[in-house]
């Protein structure tokens, strides 16, 4: 190791030390006047993205519900942006949980609790936790070009079943995928996984609002997905090579799986070099999630709950007419024109509002003709001049 010592003009000195490194290395000092930032240099990261690529990776926002039981199929059940694909893989409860890795700055995790086991995994069984991206948000990967970037996925997992799990990147636009095995070493213990994937010079992602790319964290899979050889390089998908070696997370009702701190970085990192998780304020996080899901229910109240909080009230005009129409402008533009579900304060029944005078249910219609506004009206006459139509709604345009 060589050093140069620069003597100060009055007293003291500064030593510049060259680390032991092979080859010829060049460090260019910018032509500028000022001081180099020497404090916390290990937290300086030159990300190409200003905000986290993965929304809600800290599992803080759960607009739909903080707990959903009896899950046997796919969907976004609790945590915003976090989806499962599930078929014949047991029954699960999902919860926004407070169990988190110590000292990492997380307050929430996504808990998946097996409530009915699937001990005999059928060939077509699958259960996978997914995060899907719009193609226009991942153009910085330069996928499908000679300049394509490597990608690193990092997350915390706590699982009852130890052994081999499969993480997968899936190019939806071009039906290409790459898999990587990782190990859960200790049961019911938080472990951080950092998985780097090679670049893919084939298959560009669409520069649009469609579903182009996903992170797939597998929980169980049948032989349709596991009977080949694990594909660890980018290739056109061959089902049998996608999930080879995956343990069965649904083997017992004692089993839980927790995730938090999901992040995706452009570039190749390992457990030492991975940039720190980018924490956002709850408000910023929520606003970004509203591109995919919004409702009139309060934060922390499950969509469809029996509550008057958040109801929209509109009044019939004209004696004997009892027809009402109203509009609503969404506070955040949706990804695509959303699907709307109408709720009422009695809970349970969808597609109906409530007659504010009689309490009876009123069949309604709704439609969003754009990503920014929706139209609501009752489909059956009710009451007279001044009668109230009360309703709530949820709107989604998930990937």
């Amino acid at each position: 190791m060589s050093s140069i010592k620069l003597k100060g003009s009055s007293s003291g000195d500064v030593t510049i030390t060259v680390p032991a490194a092979a080859g010829t290395n060049t460090v260019t000092i910018p032509a500028a006047t000022g001081n180099l930032p020497l404090s916390n240099l290990d937290h300086v990261t030159n990300r190409p993205n200003a905000k986290p690529l993965v929304l809600n990776g800290n599992m803080a926002v759960a607009q739909r519900s903080t707990s959903t039981t009896g899950i046997t199929g796919g969907g976004h059940h609790t945590i915003d942006r976090m989806k499962v694909d599930l078929s014949d893989g047991g029954t699960w409860t999902q919860t926004q949980d407070a169990d988190v890795p110590t000292g990492q700055g997380f307050a929430n995790s996504w808990k998946l609790d097996c409530t009915t086991a699937d001990t005999s995994v059928a060939a077509g069984t699958f259960h996978v936790a997914r995060y899907l991206f719009e193609g226009q948000d991942l153009q910085l990967l330069k996928k499908g070009t000679s300049s394509a970037e490597k990608v690193t996925v990092s997350f915390w997992i706590k699982a009852t079943v130890t052994g081999t799990y499969i993480a997968e990147l899936y190019d939806v636009d071009n039906d290409r995928q790459i898999s990587q095995a990782y190990t859960v070493s200790s049961a019911n213990t938080w472990e951080k996984k950092v998985l780097s994937f090679v670049a893919d010079t084939t298959g560009a992602l669409g520069d649009d609002n469609g579903s182009s790319f996903s992170i797939n964290l597998w929980l169980s899979a049948g032989s349709n997905f596991t009977s080949g050889t694990l594909n660890t390089t980018w290739a056109g998908q061959n089902l049998v090579n996608r999930v080879v070696g995956q343990v069965n997370s649904a083997s017992s009702t004692d089993n839980n799986v927790y995730f938090t701190g999901l992040q995706m970085e452009v570039g190749e990192y390992d457990a030492t070099t991975i940039p720190p998780f980018q924490h956002e304020s709850y408000g910023d996080n929520l606003q970004r999630c509203k591109r995919y899901c919004q409702s009139t229910f309060s934060q922390g109240t499950a969509i469809g709950a029996a509550t008057a909080a958040g109801i929209i009230i509109t009044c019939a005009a004209g004696t004997g007419i009892g027809r009402v129409a109203t509009g609503h402008q969404f506070p955040v533009s949706f990804r695509a024109v959303p699907t709307i579900v109408i709720h009422n304060q009695t809970g349970g029944t969808t597609g109906s509002g409530r007659n504010g005078d009689t309490g009876g249910l009123i069949t309604m219609s709704a439609g969003a003709a754009s990503t920014d506004a929706a139209h609501f009206e009752n489909s059956e006459n009710f009451g007279n001049d001044g009668a109230q139509l009360q309703f709530q709604f949820s709107a989604t345009s998930e990937l």
């Binding site: 739909r64 519900s65 199929g73 796919g74 969907g75 976004h76 059940h77 989806k83 649009d208 609002n209 469609g210 579903s211 969509i303 990804r335 695509a336 024109v337 959303p338 699907t339 709307i340 579900v341 109408i342 969808t350 597609g351 219609s365 709704a366 439609g367 969003a368 003709a369 139209h375 009206e377 489909s379 949820s394 989604t396 345009s397 998930e398 990937l399």
Partner: protein, 63 residues
């Protein structure tokens, strides 16, 4: 919130709003009601298209 798929769709009917048909009223096998826009980038609309492609499934006209 469950995902609308062709497997759980029960009925689909056109809806006239503001004089135009730009929405389907979709009822699933739990009798939940969805108002799905006729928009190709909406994934629920994509599910309706898959459902309609199955022999015997038809989208009903508006009332």
């Amino acid at each position: 919130m469950k995902q609308l798929t062709k497997e759980i769709i029960s009925t689909v009917k056109k809806v006239i709003l503001a004089g135009e048909v730009n929405t389907y009223k979709v009822v699933d096998n739990d009798n939940d009601v969805y108002f799905v826009p006729i928009a190709t980038d909406n994934t629920d609309y994509q599910a309706v298209q898959e459902w309609e492609a199955i022999d015997g499934n038809n989208i009903a006209d508006a009332d």
